[in-house]
Amino acid sequence: MSPLLEIAGIGKSFGAFRALSDISLAVEEGETLGLIGPNGAGKTTLFNVVTGFLRPDSGAVRFAGAPVDRLPPEKRAALGLVRTFQKAMVFPALSLRENLAMAARQRAGHGLRWLGARTCHAEADAKVERLLAESGLPRGGGERMADLSYGEQRIADLLMALALEPRLLLLDEPTAGLSQAEAERLLRIVRRHDSRTALVLIAHDIDIVFGHCDRIAVMHLGRLLRTGTPQAVRADAAVRAAYLGSLAD
């Protein structure tokens, strides 16, 4: 069986700056891959290329066995290739419930409907209630997104991604800027969906990455240094030199 996501030879430059060179990587169905590397290693750029927000200069991306290079971001999302952004990206003026419903309606294929609004809304609302209950957010859902704390916004952001029922979820530093308790709640929500969804996780928090991931990929200056199990990566000399440095000693 072919891997769920297959990245082959991706290169991307911004002017003279080579953000990515020759990245090849595969993500298997259902696995959790940690993507680590110092700032500027190209992790977010790689996400942007995989999800179609950036066009690579070279290389190819295959998802679920089919090439997706020519698809715009929204088509890739519709295939189940879903991402979050480095900052919580929500609709601040809309309510929490409306934020989640936006995702739920799209997943149900009702995103652009005009007629039959009542049933679309009812279906979406039911799903939103489920998600809210599962999330354990102490919120009714009527609150304006802008009035929620940053941690709650990030969790809502994640819930929107999960409402799309992704096959592969790319999380870009989901716990950055969150308190310990908020980070743990967020990871609990992710793990509940873990069995169904493959996960690629960018994080700076080493404990989170090494504690939760099946495999880890290390990037440095636009290159992929090493991919392997947490133990193997921890033991790798090049990784220690480039990234873990004193942390590992």
């Binding site: 911004f14 977010t44 942007n48 927000f53 950036l54 952004f85 480095q86």
Partner: protein
């Protein structure tokens, strides 16, 4: 041959006018992120001042600084209230506010200067024609091309090569940091708006010899200047030059080749260009995510 050269010069003189008007607009847009739809009013004010000045018998060449000062003064007043409050507001609110101001200014000018078409009495030095390959060409248009090129160059030097320009560009990127360096960004922004308004008035004075002055010209010029800036890609200097050339040549040559449907052809060309390049000629290198 002569005919072609005359048409190219026609296009160039129109482009020079568009460049000067467009630069006033693009300076505030790129440096302050402020959309000023009252710019056409500054232009027309400059035209009227120049027409009156040239009719008054005072030294003719002072008409241009006078138009600059008149429009700059209007800009300075409007900058204090209400423009200043809108610098940080979304473009939509800026568009609405400045459009409303332009409606008021247009009617005030109609009140003050009347509704008829006023043409300036050009001084002898700028009247008449020169012969290029046996084709007559108005001297005034050559003057426009020259002045447009010189003023454009001066403005570029000011913004791109002086410390003042550097402070300004830094203030656009991060106002807070520039303020911690002890530079008063409020005064900086006020100066830019006054400069832009003055530039509008100056272009109006220069343009009066070609387009005359009448109610409604403010809107026509504003629209063409906006198209110039937008086609150029909003605000980069080189982009505005390119935009002025595209619009100037498109309008001139569509009149030569398709006299019946000149504007349809020119507008279609511009719209087509914006369809192919939705962010204009020189798109700012923005990273979306």
């Amino acid at each position: 041959m002569g005919y072609a050269i005359v048409q190219v010069l026609n296009a160039l003189s129109f482009s020079a006018l568009l460049l000067l008007t467009g630069l006033g607009l693009s300076v505030v847009l790129s440096l302050m992120n402020f959309v000023n739809l009252a710019h056409g009013a500054f232009y027309l004010l400059g035209s009227y001042v120049a027409v009156l000045w040239l009719a008054s018998g005072a030294p003719w060449w002072l008409a241009f600084p006078a138009a600059f000062l008149a429009a700059a003064l209007a800009g300075a007043l409007l900058e204090r209230f209400p423009f200043r409050r809108f610098y940080a507001r979304p473009h939509l609110m800026q568009v609405l506010l400045t459009y409303g101001i332009s409606v008021i200014l247009a009617d005030l000018m109609r009140w003050g200067f009347g509704a008829q078409i006023l043409t300036p009495e050009l001084p002898a030095a700028l009247r008449g024609v020169v012969f290029l390959f046996d084709m007559p060409f108005p001297l005034y248009r050559l003057f426009l091309i020259g002045v447009g090129a010189v003023l454009g160059l001066l403005l570029w030097l000011l913004l791109d090569r002086t410390l003042w320009g550097a402070a300004l560009r830094a203030a656009v990127t991060d106002r807070g940091i520039v303020e911690t360096l002890g530079i008063d960004t409020r005064r900086l922004f006020a100066a830019v708006l006054v400069l832009s308004a003055g530039l509008g008035g100056l272009s109006g004075a220069l343009g009066a010899g070609m387009l005359a002055a009448y109610p409604g010209l403010d809107e026509e010029v504003l629209i063409l200047a906006l198209i110039t800036v937008v086609v150029g890609g909003l605000g980069s200097f080189g982009g505005t030059v390119a935009g002025a050339l595209v619009v100037g040549f498109a309008l001139t040559f569509s009149k030569v080749w398709f006299p019946e449907f000149a504007n349809v052809v020119a507008f279609s060309a511009m719209a087509g260009f914006l369809l192919l390049r939705p962010h204009g000629f020189v798109a700012p290198p923005l990273r979306q995510v």
